[in-house]
Symmetry: none
Subunit: 537 residues, 2 copies
């Protein structure tokens, strides 16, 4: 493989610095296994000297190893004024038992003096000793040159010297880190070129360069691309770009760019097809909402809105898509909005797995219903589940799971105490049910009452939960009397779906959205049975 590029994932270490992200041991193991199936060759597992959770992580992976990835332990150079063999932290690294260790050291004279409070000479000795010691213990070493680009700008000779020392001591990769994320692509290109010239002359071929970029200037991905085009062969980044401040370079953008656009070999094509799923699984594991606008893997990455786009993209996807979404396991989505024409409706039906013929009178009926509801303030662009229910109704494929007859909600606030009580009246297969529940707010009380009423008939409802809830008033001038639109997002742990409700009464709108959310969950649970009914029908 002449065009081999080595992907190095640091989601479990640098990614975990992301604000709001907190990983348990089990989370880390689950993410590591996801990365392994994706074919990532290097996975940085953590800093076993600094953190008991990371010690356990490496133990657990020794018991149940990954199939192909190298799990790497991460640590700093030894402390000033000691020897490497006497540094406890390095003992913890060795007992992690990995083949590879990534060691980070200082390249920037300012940091040596102000942060480490030592001399420039001692810093070089710390780099040399630590690498030599790790090599003597049979470890292979990746050297992360922290603050490389800033250090190089401030004191070029010293920065180069740190790399030379690391290489002479036996590091196999020298990774240039833009730790503060302030460097722009043209600077990266120039510095990498100069480094290769400075080191290149009397080095054996086994020494290679890597790059580690951050997104503080919004160009982490472009910086990694620029470095690779100059000859760097290892790229460090994280899934979904998680990381401190603005995050690290996003591997979910880098891998397809390298592999599909620049012709590098990073992972197998069959593994690349898993990329979208890995991105979304990791966001579930870390419990951060996925970024719908993420390049390549986002929900909206291949979404088409306007009528012209839709008909053009169906004739020739190349016209409005930069590559085929299937290659990274994503898919094209036709978005429904008030500009929708008949071709949008037909395209949408196909994505729902509903066969619809342009000549079917139901088509026009759906389109008219859609336009009527949108003029009332409904918006189906973000509420595909409600749109599918609407289609199914026109096609007589919407099973009558239950019917809402009415509800009452009562809220009471006295001083600081607040309570909410809801009563719902509904019928299931002709049986009338009246059920009440409390909640900390009126919507949770309504939701609870609906579930209590329905769970005996449809036990699956117990596994549906609301994951997002948004409200917007539609006609600002009308103030609190305005119509409200509620968007509710649900999950059953596997799929996500969104519904919409509109009313002058916020609780009525919420009730509509929650009811359709439960109903659509039932459609998903019973997909095969419904398909059968349709065929008979």
């Amino acid at each position: 493989m002449t065009n081999r590029l080595w992907i190095y994932d640091t989601t479990l270490r640098d990614g975990a610095q992301c604000e709001g992200l907190c990983l348990s041991l089990e989370d880390k193991l689950r993410i590591a296994r996801q990365l392994d199936t994706l074919g990532i060759p290097f996975i940085e597992g953590g800093w076993p000297g600094a953190n008991p959770k990371d010690v356990q992580f490496f133990w657990r992976l020794k018991e149940q190893p990954l199939t192909q990835a190298e799990v790497v332990a991460f640590c700093s150079t030894r402390r000033p004024g000691t020897t490497a063999a006497n540094d406890e932290m390095l003992q913890a690294i060795l007992s992690a038992g990995t083949r590879w260790v990534t060691l980070f050291g200082k390249s920037w004279d300012l940091h040596v003096i102000e942060s480490l409070k030592t001399t420039l000479e001692e810093n070089l000795a710390m780099i040399r000793d630590t690498i030599e010691y790790l090599r003597s213990q049979g470890r292979r070493v990746i050297y992360d040159a922290e603050h490389w680009f800033d250090g190089y700008k401030h004191n070029r000779d010293y920065a180069i010297k740190t790399l030379e020392v690391a290489a002479d001591a036996g590091a196999e990769w020298l990774v240039l880190c833009d730790t503060n994320g302030g460097t722009l692509p043209h600077e990266i290109s120039q510095v990498v070129r100069e480094v290769l010239e400075a080191l290149g002359t009397n080095r054996e071929k086994s020494l290679q360069l890597g790059v580690h970029t951050h997104n503080d200037s919004g160009v982490a991905v472009a910086n990694a691309l620029a470095a690779v085009r100059e000859g760097v062969t290892m790229v460090q980044g994280t899934i979904n770009g998680y990381g401190e401040r603005c995050g690290n370079a996003n591997l979910c953008s880098l891998i397809p760019n390298f592999q599909l656009k620049l012709g590098y070999d990073c992972i197998q094509d069959e593994q690349l097809v898993r990329l979208t799923q890995v991105s979304r699984s990791v966001s579930e594991i870390v419990n951060l909402a996925p970024d719908d606008r993420a390049p390549f893997v986002g929900l909206s990455a291949f979404a088409h809105k306007g009528g012209i786009h839709v008909s053009a993209v169906e004739k020739n996807p190349l016209t409005y898509e930069h590559l085929e979404p299937e290659k990274i396991g994503n898919c094209r989505r036709i978005v429904i909005s008030d500009q929708a024409g008949l071709s949008n409706v037909l395209a949408k039906a196909r994505t729902f797995g509903i066969e619809l013929d342009r000549k079917n009178p139901a088509c026009r009926q759906i389109l008219e219903k859609l336009k009527d509801l949108e003029s009332q303030g409904y918006q189906f662009e973000g509420a595909e589940a409600s749109f599918e229910l609407l289609m199914r109704e026109a096609l007589e494929q919407r099973p009558p799971w239950f019917e809402i007859k009415g509800f009452q909600v009562h809220c009471d606030k006295v001083g600081e105490d607040c309570m909410a009580l809801a009563t719902v009246k509904l019928s299931v297969n002709g049986t009338n049910i009246l059920e009440a529940a409390e909640g900390n707010g009126p919507v949770s009380a309504l939701d609870a009452a609906l579930r209590k009423a329905l769970v005996n008939f449809y036990p699956a409802i117990a596994h549906f939960y609301l994951t997002d809830y948004k409200v917007r008033i539609l006609d600002g001038g009308a103030g609190t009397s305005a119509k409200t639109r509620v968007l509710a997002e649900f999950s059953n742990g596997q799929d996500r779906w969104t519904t919409v409700g509109v009313s002058g009464n916020i609780l009525d709108a919420s009730c509509q959205a929650v009811v359709e959310g439960l109903e659509y969950g039932l459609v998903l649970e019973n997909q095969e049975a419904i398909a059968l009914v349709c065929r008979v029908h």
Copy 2:
């Protein structure tokens, strides 16, 4: 100004293609005014021929013009086989009455043949006629060459020909668009260089190039940087990178990169300080959660976690920050440090126009209250009126207009009929009042009951009305039991102000926001009297 770079905002047109983003007329006007205060020279307002809302938008701006920005109307070339003067769409453009029009046309032969279904020659005629007609009607023209980079790759000569025709017909800017977002920075550099060579020889100097990039490959910002480094002088993008699919180039990343790192003149330094606030206000207006990890303007962009970073950054910010956050109106956040919190309060007070002395003991009191409230989910970025009330309270400048003791709300839905009844209990100057009112929803009933109770004491309240109302849940995983944050915007016909309420109960949160909205309106009505009290105090 030798290094002038022209920023062109298309949030209101291309940005509005963003999935889940739906702008009302008032939203568009508010965003336009935000962009105007930021000093953006060109604001694309919409396509008046395609959309009645956009027609109104231009009318409203004629009544109340912006202070300095050029508002630009957007449209396509005339239809095949007609004349420009007979094209209705172009008449709508002219009646928008803007000085500048942005016209987009096809550069890619594939699109001409497959989408427009016309000949390559007729497409050139469409570009020429439309521009000449607009020029004859006194308009200045920006020409957006759609799918430029893909077109150039497929048929270089034809693509160049379309630009030559546009320039000859009188377009002053030729904007190279990467409509599908598939181009990488090194390709952008090369193509821009070649275009300048191809056009450069026998052109007058007044012709300039622009660039319009999309983020499908995760490099929209880097692509714009690359184009500008080759000589492009106009950059199109959107606030927060909103836009179709993966979005447009993010102006909140581009402007600081150009201005602070590359030395271009885009906006005034005093305007640049507003960037963070504009980013967050726009995200509130469009009701999309702000991206905390956004470069430069994100909440986490200058956040420092724990030990080494904190002490290093306090000694010398350069060690862990690529630039000074104050330059873009953001601030360093050191999560564990009280001192940093105090600067936050002072910084926030300054952005809201309140001068506060660090030595005033009220500062610490405000800080503690603020931290407590923010940990509960309050957010004051979009709710300046609530923040001012909080400050006034600590400074003993918040008159006790009234006190809420409690409320009850009852909602009833039977079949299609819905009713809401609210009762409020409050006291004014020691007098207890119990008042009830109906509304078409629970919030309007609450609002009506509050007004009925207060209007006899404070007749001005009759003139305050709610102009916008938004709700977001704060902790997605908790579903309908999650905390809700309500933002309410009020007007008295002259001023507008926004308040915030947070509670596990949506009606409680709404009541808080409405109560503070009425209270702040009274502060505005009585400003002189209050100022007097303060001076005496």
